[in-house]
Amino acid sequence: MTEIHATGRSLPNRLDKPLKSAVLSWESLLVLVAVGIFILNSFASPYFLNAWSLSDLTFNFTEKALIALAMALLIISGEIDLSVAAIIALASTMMGLALQYGADTPTLVAVGVGVGILCGAFNGFLVTGLKLPSIVVTIGTMSLFRGIAFIVLGDQSFKGYPASFSWFGQGYVYWVISFELVLFLVCAVIYWVLLHRTNFGRRVFAIGNNDVAAQFSGVRVDRIKFILFCLTGLMSGIAAVLLTARLGSTRPSIAEGFELEAITMVVLGGVSILGGAGSIIGVVLAALIVGLVTFGLGLLNVPGIVMTIFTGSLLIVVIALPILFRMWRNRA
């Protein structure tokens, strides 16, 4: 009888050097791109290299980037949420409505965040409870949520938010460091830990790679997906508070196109649109790049409608690039 316990061989943890793979990663490419655009911007406009100007730049992406953090986890798990901008519209509208009934600042924030979580939970229930595909569910709720905002507001707008509320979108923590930026950086760290350093994050990756095998491995797939939709709703609610506070008003068309920019950040950040791979550092860098580019174009007086062309093209290019790269490598 052969002895199968004693093997004498010991499997090493890994073969490749961590340093080498870090240098050759997508993230280091993003750093190069960000630096390049930063230098281009400083040549393009004399107003760019200025503390306040750079501070303004951060407002260009923080709200969308907050959503992108949660969206990254959702896309890694193999799902998607297209309703995030509509959630902002509904949350903002509900905050405006609460304001009409005399709500104070803490209540307004609670309403905005609460509506966000509820919307996310609703998406999550439709996807995990009724087993509907998330892309269809969230296209539906995208119209639903914004539709409610339109019914409540019509062509009106809510104005007159208190100054203490406006601070969330306009206030500075120290010198040129805005509250929005600080909140984004704190959330980025939290999401980095959540995705890369916890059991929860590990299971998210497993689900994205193969949700059937993950389920067969004892992972509560539906529960985790539900939580991810709630997190995306939560971040949309927070973004609604910041945006509403920054603009000082609510219109039903608020935050239009945010979902595309958030998803662009996620995909540009190296998250696989098919799920199963990605990193928070990549998403943060991608958010910075999108912010730098749109701000740079703004400094050059490029109109907003042209910027959407840029965002759309960028999204297609970053989705196509890995595929083209693979085709090229297979041919070689």
Binding site: L11, V212, F216
Partner: protein, 501 residues
């Protein structure tokens, strides 16, 4: 002696950290079946992928009919007349049988459109010539795995391939279906096709093959005529040593009942299924493919819900609503569909192993990589996993080694009951013996093992008791003491005693 239709010579292929093929050669002759034999990881699948244009060899040449060819794509392989029928058939569920047969080479009319009428007619003729009894107009998903194989064979016939590769075609077939496949292979032989037949089962090889080629660790170690070679000679070539008794002796002490199932029913799959498994016992489940054995096991594992019945584990009633519940209770399941349900192929070995044990390796929900690597190393080494490192992606492992990853994953959770669904399906003799021996050790350590298997020698060689299922019902539960294989087959197939005699 005629010249071979297909000649491979000096083929080498390496992957990062793994030398899959080294300077191998292979010849296939018209009208003959050549068996390709080797353990898991011997390089059989890699060779097939090289022959079908999926992998590009690092060195070596491929000649078809004496002419040097290169096969940069799967399409170029079929263009030179090489076609493959895979372990897990690659056909399209949502297309009709006729469309599957003619996909890529459908007959066209003068406008360049698909000539549906001719296509259906020819598909029907091909299927009828095989006596397949398949309607070419139904969707493929309505067919069972055996019939899907027949469609794959029909496809091979329709493309007029010179070389047909059959990669473990019998793995999912019942005995009767295997017999039908033999008839087809004879048909292909008579048609002058060269057939490469990959199988782990010696009875099949001796039944159908004319020649054999043996691979070991990516090298060709022997070839010859089947008729002139004994089984033990081939086994010796395969493993490089002699394999004695395949099944370990059962010497575990059998204790009290650990798991009891009472009257488990499912609206469509099974009805009134009851069984018990005791401490230190291997309970075999035998039946034909489709008897509902896997479905029962998946219900015990919480993956599907029963309509009635109950489960008692260690004296306590349990009702797992999910696999996570079952794992927490101490019941784990090694699924039959390794690639889809067993391993997460995009992830490295250690992440696969630690996934259900994250609670144990982590601290307050935060990952601790060192503990994960330790856990993965402990259990994969117990199973003699062959890999270059614990960070190697499981998709680069051979089937048998993937199975070891799945088993390691579950052993790490310290289960009470381990359910193995066709644990040695598609696994070579060497790994098979290792798995069997390991099962013996598990029960010796006080685990209870439930083994679903369609292989008679395995069921008879390993089980303490055997539950026979047919059409979703338990037909009988037998003590494995002087049982005859015929008895099991008779019960499973529902043949009356006098007819069987």
């Amino acid at each position: 002696m005629t010249d071979p239709i297909l000649t491979l010579s000096g083929i080498s292929k390496s992957f990062p950290g793994v030398r899959a093929l080294h300077d191998v050669s292979l010849e296939l002759y018209a009208g003959q079946v050549t068996a390709l034999i080797g353990e898991n990881g011997a390089g059989k699948s890699t060779l097939v992928k090289t022959m079908t244009g999926i992998y590009q060899p690092d060195a070596g040449e491929i000649r078809v009919g004496g002419k040097l060819v290169t096969l940069p794509t799967a399409h170029s392989a079929s263009a030179v007349g090489i076609t493959a029928i895979h372990q897990e058939t690659v056909l399209f569920d949502e297309l009709t049988v006729a469309e599957n047969i003619y996909l890529g080479h459908a007959p066209t009319n003068r406008f360049g459109m698909i000539d549906w009428k001719t296509m259906r007619k020819e598909a029907r003729e091909t299927l009828d010539s095989m006596a397949a009894g398949i309607d070419p107009d139904i969707k493929l998903k309505e067919l069972g795995i055996a019939k899907k194989h027949l469609v794959a064979v029909a496809r091979a016939l329709s493309v007029d391939a010179q070389v047909v590769i059959m990669d473990e075609p019998t793995a999912a077939l019942s005995q009767k279906e295997i017999e039908e496949l033999y008839v087809l292979i004879e048909l292909l032989k008579a048609d002058g096709k060269a057939i490469l037949f990959i199988s782990h089962k010696f009875d099949e090889i001796y039944r159908i093959a004319d020649r054999f080629t043996v691979f070991r660790d990516g090298e060709q170690v022997g070839k010859g005529m089947i008729k002139e070679t004994s089984q033990s000679q081939i086994v010796q070539l395969m493993v490089g040593r002699a394999v004695e008794n395949i099944f370990p002796p059962r010497n575990a002490v059998i204790g009290d009942v650990v798991l009891e199932a009472k009257g488990l029913s499912h609206p469509t799959e099974f009805e009134d299924v009851s069984f018990t498994v005791r401490k230190g016992e291997i309970l075999g489940f035998y039946g034909l493919v489709g008897a509902g054995r896997s479905e029962v096991m998946q219900a015990v594992f919480g993956m599907t819900q029963t309509s009635s019945g109950r489960l008692v584990l260690d004296g306590q009633a349990i009702a797992p609503q999910s696999a996570a519940d079952a794992v927490e209770a101490g019941i784990v399941y090694v699924p039959e569909e390794r690639g889809k349900q067993g391993v997460i192929t995009g992830e490295p070995i250690f992440k696969n192993v630690s996934l259900p044990s994250l609670k144990k390796t982590s601290k307050n929900g935060f990952l601790r990589m060192a503990e994960e690597f330790d856990l993965a190393r402990t259990y994969t080494e117990r199973l003699d996993l062959r890999a270059s490192s614990l960070s190697q992606n499981v998709s680069t492992l051979s089937g048998g080694n993937q199975q070891k990853v799945v088993i390691a994953k579950w052993l790490a959770t310290l289960p009470k009951v381990i359910i193995l669904d066709e644990p040695t399906k598609g696994i070579d003799i060497g790994s098979k013996a290792a798995v069997h021996e390991f099962m013996g050790e598990l029960v010796a350590q006080g685990l209870s093992v439930i083994m679903v298997s369609s292989e008679l020698p395995e069921v008879l060689g390993m089980s303490d008791r055997i539950v026979v299922m047919r059409e979703g019902r338990v037909i009988d539960t037998l003590d494995n003491d002087g049982l005859k294989p015929e008895t099991l087959v008779r019960l499973a197939a529902g043949i009356a005693e006098e007819q069987a005699a």
